[in-house]
């Protein structure tokens, strides 16, 4: 019995269509349909020519089920022609191709290609072939639909992968942006911040995430020029809009509310939107915080131009400022002051370099107090300073110079147990608009400074003075040779001579004293100690000079002891153990004269060398030598110290006496000193009594002695 009736054909169609199933893969659809067809239709194989479809990602290929080692198209032109046919536009049965005992039944499959049913030995009937069109067509649809479906899924997966990749990229870039120290901000065309990385949040001091930026960007921060502090916030927009990007060479100052200003480098880049529907781009602003580097650079620059000890300009820094003033075409009159500290070496030698350093710091502070805000101070050498006074008259410059001179002169620098006094030699020159050579100006001031030194230090010299020719000037004399000659008492143009000045007793109970003063005689000209003592100090001749003076004083007293003789003993001698020993031996050799000898020692010198002085004074006291404390009131000693000192006379410093007739404070001070001295049974001496008024006041106060030009001027001591 055979089943060829329509019902069975329908059943066959149904069976084949059902075999298409709902498989997940196109290969499974193909395999199941083909195998079922092969089995049900007693086929040897099914062959398929699949046409390329780029849209469905289907490749052009020929294959057989079950597989064949060789293509079924070989050696058969009637089959091979389908290899080159166009993709069918409908599904239908085409033809039977018989090869030997094999029958190939060719079907076109819409949009897919061709299917060949290979059957051996026995041909199909026409009704069956027509009945097969429906399941083959359905297979083609299912096969292509599955391709489309899988492609859609693949594309969806690809899109999802791309989305994930983009999301990952976004996360990666956000992480990178979050990790970098630079601040990155994105601003849209409405001037709203649409993105800020972690660093930017700190920069902006916002403390919240970007979706909460509600205000315009310039309400969160503003930009300023580093030099001049000009607000350039608006420039950010204008320049970026014009040039699409903006990267100023110079750093800018970034100021956010509530935060310290930050020095930063800024870059602005416009990013155009790729969305063609809108023209909205945005700007990416990168801030690179260089505050630390900037401060470091500033510090290094400061270090290069400043003296680390005194924190004032060094030579380089001062030169820079100085050149700027010289080169300023609008420049007015200025002044340059050169200062050279006197006796600084002594401080270094005695107190050590640390003491010297501290002294320099104090000196620089004192000088700065006397200067104006725009004036410039520089330390241009070890103990050399320069002051540039801007836009000033020479009168003002002289005044400043004098004030500085006086300030330094009055400085009592204490270091450990020592108290030092120093002086300063000052040279002053004017800078006019015609001056263009800074070196020449320096030279003028320096020359003036040298002149002050040569004239005895502690004075101010004007450079104009140097321009006046001075014959026979002693300014360039090298005194050290003549000090040596004077000490040797050789016959020469130079020799020491002693002057005396009376110290007048203001009561009947005390007899007058004379103070012996040292001068140098040069061709009938008298040179003051200020001129030659610096050389003596520099070359260590002070103790020898003291010895010479004491020796001559003692010899004078040997012949005339009608008045006690006061001789000054320098601090240098008091600090020199050998010098003290020699003087002690000298005095011991003149026991009678010693009883009329009064040695004047400054309170600073005593306190600086207290132990040695006390021992020396004790020994001298035993020989009948008395002591006077010179310049009392200017040092750091107190009455507490005073009562322990074996001094007999207290010589009150001239600075308290000079204006005492018109200065009530000075009177009070002098009265106090006098009362304290009396309590300690000390005799008091007023120095600098230069007029009658002073004399009257000191007499009224009850001081014991008076000394000064009003009473008599120094005169040559006639040695016997």
């Amino acid at each position: 019995m055979k089943f060829l009736d329509p019902y069975n054909l329908i059943s066959l169609q149904h069976e084949l269509i059902m075999s298409i199933g709902t498989y997940d893969e196109t290969d499974e659809i193909l395999k199941c349909f083909s195998l079922r067809a092969i089995k049900t239709l007693n086929l040897k194989r099914i062959h398929i020519i699949q046409k390329e479809d780029i849209n469905l990602d289907i490749k052009d290929q020929v294959f057989s089920i079950p597989p064949l080692n060789n293509s079924f198209l070989e050696d058969n032109n009637r089959l091979a022609k389908y290899r080159y046919s166009q993709t069918p536009t409908n599904s239908e049965y085409i033809e039977e191709i018989k090869c030997d005992r094999t029958y190939f039944y060719c079907f076109s499959i819409k949009n897919l290609g061709f299917m060949f049913l290979e059957r051996r030995l026995k041909p199909f009937g026409e009704s069956l072939l027509q009945a097969l069109v429906a399941p083959i067509s359905r297979f083609g649809m299912a096969y292509l639909n599955k391709h489309q479906f899988l492609l859609n899924i693949k594309q969806k997966e690809t899109i999802e992968e791309i989305s994930m990749d983009l999301e990952l990229d976004k996360l990666k870039f956000e992480t990178i942006l979050g990790a970098i120290s630079d601040s990155v901000i994105a601003i849209n065309i409405y001037k709203e911040i649409i993105f800020a990385n972690n660093s930017a949040y700190k920069f902006l001091n916002t403390g919240f995430k970007c979706k909460e930026f509600t205000k315009k960007y310039y309400e969160y921060f503003r930009l300023y020029e580093l030099v001049g502090n000009k607000d350039i916030t608006r420039s950010l927009e204008l320049l970026a809009i014009k040039d699409k990007k903006w990267s100023p060479e110079d750093p800018v100052l970034f100021k956010a509310k509530g935060l310290d200003p930050i020095v930063c480098e800024i870059k602005v880049q416009e990013i155009k939107s790729k969305n063609s529907k809108t023209d909205e781009g945005f700007y990416v602003i990168t801030f690179h915080d260089i505050t630390e580097a900037y401060e470091m650079e500033k510090f290094l620059s400061w270090q290069a131009s400043h003296d680390p000890l005194t924190e004032i300009n060094n030579r380089i820094g001062f030169d820079r400022e100085f050149e700027a003033v010289i080169n300023d075409k609008k420049s007015e009159h200025h002044a340059l002051i050169c200062l050279d500290l006197d006796r600084f070496k002594h401080v270094n030698d005695i107190g050590g370099h640390l003491a010297g350093d501290n002294l320099l710091k104090q000196v620089s502070c004192l000088i700065q107090r006397e200067m104006g805000e725009n004036d410039v101070l520089g330390r241009i050498g070890g103990d050399e300073f320069c002051i540039l006074l801007k836009n000033c008259t020479m009168e003002y410059a002289k005044d400043i110079s004098e004030r500085v001179l006086e300030t330094i002169k009055r400085l009592r620098f204490q270091w450990d147990d020592n108290i030092f006094t120093i002086g300063v030699s000052i040279g002053l020159t004017e800078i006019t608009p015609k001056d263009t050579d800074s070196g020449l100006i320096f030279f003028r001031a320096d020359e003036a400074c040298m002149r002050s030194k040569q004239n005895g230090r502690n004075q101010v010299s004007l450079s104009q003075d140097l321009l006046e020719p001075k014959e026979n000037s002693t300014s360039k004399i090298n005194y050290i040779n003549y000090i040596n000659k004077s000490l040797a008492s050789d016959e020469s143009d130079f020799n020491f001579i002693l002057y005396q000045q009376q110290i007048k007793s203001l009561s009947d109970k005390e007899k007058d004293h004379i103070e012996i003063l040292l001068r140098m005689n040069y061709k009938d000209k008298v040179i003051l100690p200020n001129a030659f003592l610096p050389s003596a100090e520099r070359y260590g001749m002070v103790s020898s000079i003291d010895y010479w003076v004491v020796k001559n004083a003692l010899e004078y007293l040997e012949n005339d002891d009608s008045m006690d003789v006061n001789v000054n003993l320098s601090g240098v001698t008091l600090s020199d153990r050998n010098a003290l020993r020699e003087i002690k031996e000298l005095i011991e050799d003149h026991p009678k004269a010693a009883k009329s000898l009064c040695l004047e020692i400054t309170e600073t010198a005593i306190i600086t060398n207290l132990t040695k002085c006390l021992k020396f004074m004790e020994i001298m006291g035993d020989l009948g030598v008395t002591f006077a404390l010179d310049d009392f009131g200017t040092g750091l000693s107190s009455f507490g110290n005073l009562k322990n000192l074996p001094v007999k006379y207290l010589k009150i410093d001239g600075s308290f006496i000079r204006d005492i007739y018109k200065n009530e404070i000075d009177q009070i001070v002098v009265k106090s000193i006098n009362e304290a001295a009396k309590a300690m049974k000390l005799k008091t001496v007023a120095e600098f009594v230069e007029n009658q008024s002073i004399y009257d006041v000191v007499s009224d106060i009850g001081l014991d002695f008076a000394q000064g030009f009003h009473l008599n001027e120094p005169e040559i001591l006639q040695l016997h």
Binding site: M1, K2, F3, L4, N8, S11, L12, H14, E15, M18, S19, R36, K39, T40, L41, N42, L43, K44, R45, P66, P67, L68, N69, R101, R119, R120, L121, K122, F124, G125, L128
Partner: protein, 386 residues
């Protein structure tokens, strides 16, 4: 006693024994065949012929002549079924024996496309016997693979070897011994004509197999198989079957599968378990099946009709061998009538014919399109002639 049928033209010789039933007897047949110049030997061994399979196994591996065949529940010699007999066919013409082993594994040689070397026998004389272990994973799949791997058109006929419904035992005879899970082809330099006789008629159907897996049907027309099967039978007969068990019904009502342009393929249901009816042979999902029935006489008549359809060359050839492959299930169904069927068939065939065969688990025959079909409850008649 040697029972030898000698073909005058020396195409083949048949040896039969059911008396001595010894390994030595088989050895003597084989040695005798070798002496006579046989090119190959095919043994059809009834399960009760011997019990010493081990010695036989060793012997097969020691001989040089190509050997083939199988072990079956029964063998057919002339008009009788024998459980305790052996038939040896000594092929005096060129034979090519291929034994594919481990056929449950779809990656083995059987499932690869044939090389041209295997087709040593030119087509034209295209006879081929085939034996397959009936308890392999899928006999049908193995037969399909055999068909697709070769480009030549052979007339296959054969049987499912084995002797147990439940277990798989070695049953394919080859030079490696008696092995299981194998398929064997014996290509003959002889013509071969095959006919399939089943004689079953449609009781109900077609019905759509809506759920199946290999040889198991779970549902018919979208309802469970058991109730559908019972209902369709009940609706088709006047007799009340409510007192019959499913096993009773399975024994009486097989199913048939319709393939286009082909005779019905009958499937023997042998078990109902796990809500599925199990068959010898696969039932594809969404195939149309029919519930079949038959009367014994109808089956006998159908066999007669089938033999009448044989080519006259086959019938009239003096030098021919007729092979009958009858199903165990058919034998069970027909009972004693099965013996009558065989007697009638042998009688119908010419006395010049040697009639041998097997009672087996499934029968194999190519259909008109050259495809191998695995039949059950059928009788395959294969005429081999020069």
């Amino acid at each position: 006693m040697i029972n030898q049928t000698k073909n005058n033209n020396k195409d083949f010789s048949i040896f039969f024994d059911n008396k001595e039933r010894s390994v030595e007897k088989i050895q003597s047949y084989i040695e005798q065949s070798i002496e006579q110049g046989a090119k190959g030997i095919t043994l059809l061994l009834g399960i009760d012929y011997i019990s010493d399979f081990e010695t036989l196994n060793e012997y097969f591996t020691s001989i040089n002549i190509p050997i083939s065949g199988g072990v079956f529940p029964e063998v057919i010699h002339e008009n009788t079924y024998y459980k305790d007999a052996v038939i040896a066919i000594a092929w005096d013409t060129e034979v090519e024996i291929n034994t594919y082993q481990n056929i449950s594994d779809p990656t083995t040689e059987l499932y690869q496309q044939a090389t041209s070397k295997e087709d040593v026998i030119q087509s034209g004389n295209s006879g081929c016997l085939v034996f397959v272990d009936a308890k392999t994973r899928s006999p049908e799949e193995a037969l399909d693979a055999l068909y697709y791997r070769s480009e030549n058109d052979y007339q296959y006929a054969g049987a499912g070897a084995g002797y147990s419904f439940d277990e798989q035992f070695p049953c394919i005879i080859c030079n490696d011994g008696i092995i299981k899970d194998a398929l064997q082809t014996i290509r003959l330099s002889l013509h071969q004509e095959n006919k399939v006789s089943y004689g079953w008629t449609v009781l109900s159907g077609p019905h759509l197999v809506t759920s199946s897996e290999k040889n198991k049907i779970y549902s018919l027309d979208y309802l469970p198989i058991e109730e559908q099967y019972r209902k369709f039978i009940q609706n088709s007969i006047n007799e009340d079957i409510s007192n019959l068990t499913i096993k009773d019904l399975l024994a009486k009502y097989p199913i048939g599968i319709y393939h286009y342009d082909e005779y019905m393929i009958v499937r023997d249901p042998f078990e109902f378990r796990d809500k599925a009816i199990e068959f010898f042979g696969d039932i594809p999902e969404f195939s149309n099946i029919y519930i079949l029935t038959a009367k014994h006489q109808e089956l006998i008549d159908e066999t007669e009709n089938c033999l009448n359809l044989f080519n006259t060359n086959t019938i009239n050839c003096n030098n021919s061998l007729t092979l009958l492959f009858s199903c165990v299930g058919r034998r069970n169904f027909m009972g004693e009538n099965s013996n009558r069927e065989l007697s009638n068939a042998v009688e119908q065939l010419s006395t010049q014919h040697s009639v041998i065969g097997t009672c087996s688990f499934g029968e194999i025959a190519t259909n008109d399109a050259g495809l191998l079909r695995f039949h059950t409850l059928s009788l395959v008649v294969s005429g081999v002639y020069q």
